[in-house]
């Protein structure tokens, strides 16, 4: 049995339109899965279902052996944290500090430990100077950083990032990714929803959604070898592979090899 198992999941917000259709996949402990798909393909809906914020009409979600339902949802939320697509949806406190603390409060983290983690994670996302500020007064990227810090501080076994870095500058994004890589090496299971193919390359596997269905799910390299998968799901390949795919003659074999090597560097 896998660590996370999603089986035959259907979901509709309104009567006549299914936005998730028969979603089936499983994730092993310690995996890093990138979730890709066009706008409206169902990524955030799937994420919300996985943390029990919405209840699927059919199908089941099992996390670490627990079937997600009203009785288990609070236990499951101790295992799985989610950074929302819009950081404002995660903010309830008066200060940045309150907001980083919020998730930990729900987990009943002892106060002293909580203060330690606030300091540590605020520094990790370079927001230590802003702890007493109102979240509404932050820039877009700063809000995202605070939202990320709040979830990292919960130290759950699984984290879902829903386009959590879309407004970060390239530099701080890379910085953060380095840290997430480290957490991954230490065993964190990661589900990363993103439109950025370069960010998705950090994952071991890619789950591609299209119009509410799983269009493809495989290890990243096998998927990227089949360029039609990307074209047919409104996605783009990394620049290096777009080049590699157009070099068909034998004399370019060495170049192609290096281009693949480039996308494999993590």
């Amino acid at each position: 049995m896998s660590y996370i198992e999603v089986k035959g999941l259907d979901y509709s917000y309104t009567k006549n339109k299914k936005v998730l259709k028969n979603i089936d996949f499983s994730i092993n402990k310690g995996d890093w899965v990138a979730v890709l798909g066009h706008n409206g393909s169902g990524k955030s809906t799937l994420a919300k279902a996985m943390v029990g914020l919405i209840e699927p009409s059919i199908g089941s979600i099992k996390i670490d052996g627990l079937e997600l339902n009203q009785d288990t949802v609070y236990d499951i939320r101790r295992k799985i944290g989610i950074v929302f697509q819009n950081p404002d949806n995660q903010f309830v406190g008066v200060t940045v500090k309150d907001d980083i603390a919020f998730g930990m409060e729900n987990l009943a983290v002892p106060r002293e430990e909580m203060l330690k983690r606030i300091d540590f994670f605020a520094k990790k996302v370079q927001m230590e100077k802003y702890l007493d500020k109102e979240p509404s007064q932050l820039s877009g990227g700063q809000k995202q950083r605070v939202a990320i810090a709040g979830i990292l501080a919960m130290q759950t076994d699984i984290i879902i990032f829903d386009e959590a870095t879309s407004m970060l500058d390239p530099f701080s994004r890379e910085d953060l990714m380095k840290y997430i890589k480290k957490l991954h090496e230490e065993g964190l299971t990661i589900i990363m929803i993103t439109h950025d193919i370069n960010e998705a390359l950090l994952a071991d596997k890619m789950l591609i959604l299209k119009s509410g269905e799983v269009f493809a799910y495989d290890d990243s390299h096998s998927l990227m070898k089949d360029k039609d998968v990307f074209r047919n799901s409104y996605l783009e390949l990394p620049v290096a592979l777009e080049i590699a795919n157009s070099l068909t003659e034998k004399k370019y074999d060495s170049v192609k090899e290096k281009l693949w090597e480039y996308v494999s560097m993590k």
Binding site: N39, N86, D88, D132, S139, Q144, S166, P170
Partner: protein, 286 residues
């Protein structure tokens, strides 16, 4: 002159960060027409603050901003019709949620045009057309904007400015949250509007690939100060990007990797994958 910043600083009244200004003594000239500008810089560098000055949404705490010859200073001036300015310079917010408040998508997009005293029928047509341009079909017309996906919201907020058709368009991170196909479609759309109408368009982005491929001018902010104003080409060729928390476009990075690992001598300054491909084919590598 379209928009001109004269040593503009802005200190938010609630800014607790010591004496820091969100932007500091920024001077910048933007022509009324023919400009296609990328505004880049690290998180919190002052991009949004700069953008909000461009249509007098906020006022400088020092210096002044000239917008179509109206001089905006710290003090509100009763002779200036700020609403007129906001019609001439349209701004799309970084978070679409701050912009969407009507109960249907169509009403939201019609809101701007209706302010121009045109008929409902006309506004409706403009809105439907704008919706199409951002890649949403008519089935979205009667949806509640609040219930859309993130990227769909973004598209609706962009459709709003297109329907308004201002003289200058300022878009705050319009492509963040868009899927790759949508990002292309919209960048081509902005380019096309610019080409057809010569309108000045200013786009905030973190995507260096887009900056390199599409823009003729890049303005870089760093810790509230304007630190670069020039072509993307020389930005990526001659400047220390890490100092400004930026990165190189992917084409440059990939070609540099090839040069290094295969001891080649490719010209790495190629803007698109196709250009990069041509450069490799020219070298005729074995």
């Amino acid at each position: 002159m379209g928009i001109r910043f004269n040593e503009v600083s802005h200190k938010y009244s609630s800014f607790s960060d010591g004496n820091l200004s969100a932007i500091y003594q920024v001077s910048l000239k933007i022509k009324a027409k023919d400009e296609f500008i990328a505004l880049v810089g690290h998180t919190g560098s002052g991009k949004t603050t700069l953008a909000k000055h461009m249509n007098a949404l906020i006022f400088p705490t020092e210096g002044n901003v000239e917008i179509f010859n109206k001089i905006i200073t710290k003090k509100r001036n009763r002779d200036i019709k700020y609403n007129e300015i906001r019609k001439k310079v349209g701004l799309v917010f970084q978070f679409p949620e701050y912009q969407l408040f009507e109960e249907t998508v169509l009403k939201d997009i019609m809101f701007g045009p209706l302010n121009f005293h045109i008929s409902k029928e006309e506004a409706r047509n403009l809105a439907i057309n704008a919706l199409k341009l951002v890649g949403l079909d008519e089935s979205y017309s009667n949806r509640n904007p609040y219930n859309l996906s993130g990227g769909e919201k973004k598209r609706v907020s962009i459709a709003g400015i297109l329907a308004m058709d201002p003289d200058i368009l300022v878009l705050d991170e319009p492509t963040s949250g868009l899927d790759p196909a949508g990002k292309r479609v919209l960048m081509e759309l902005f380019k096309d509007i610019h080409k057809r109408t010569n309108k000045t368009i200013i786009i905030i982005t973190h995507d260096m690939d887009l900056v390199y491929e599409y823009f003729s001018r890049a303005v870089v902010m760093n810790e509230g100060e304007l630190v670069y104003d020039g072509s993307p080409e020389s930005l990526f060729k001659e400047h220390d990007l890490s100092k400004n928390h930026l990165d190189y476009p992917n084409t440059i990075k990939v070609l540099t990797h090839l040069n290094k690992t295969l001891k080649l001598n490719l010209n790495v300054y190629q803007k698109t994958a196709i250009d990069a491909l041509k450069e490799i084919e020219k070298a005729g590598i074995l």
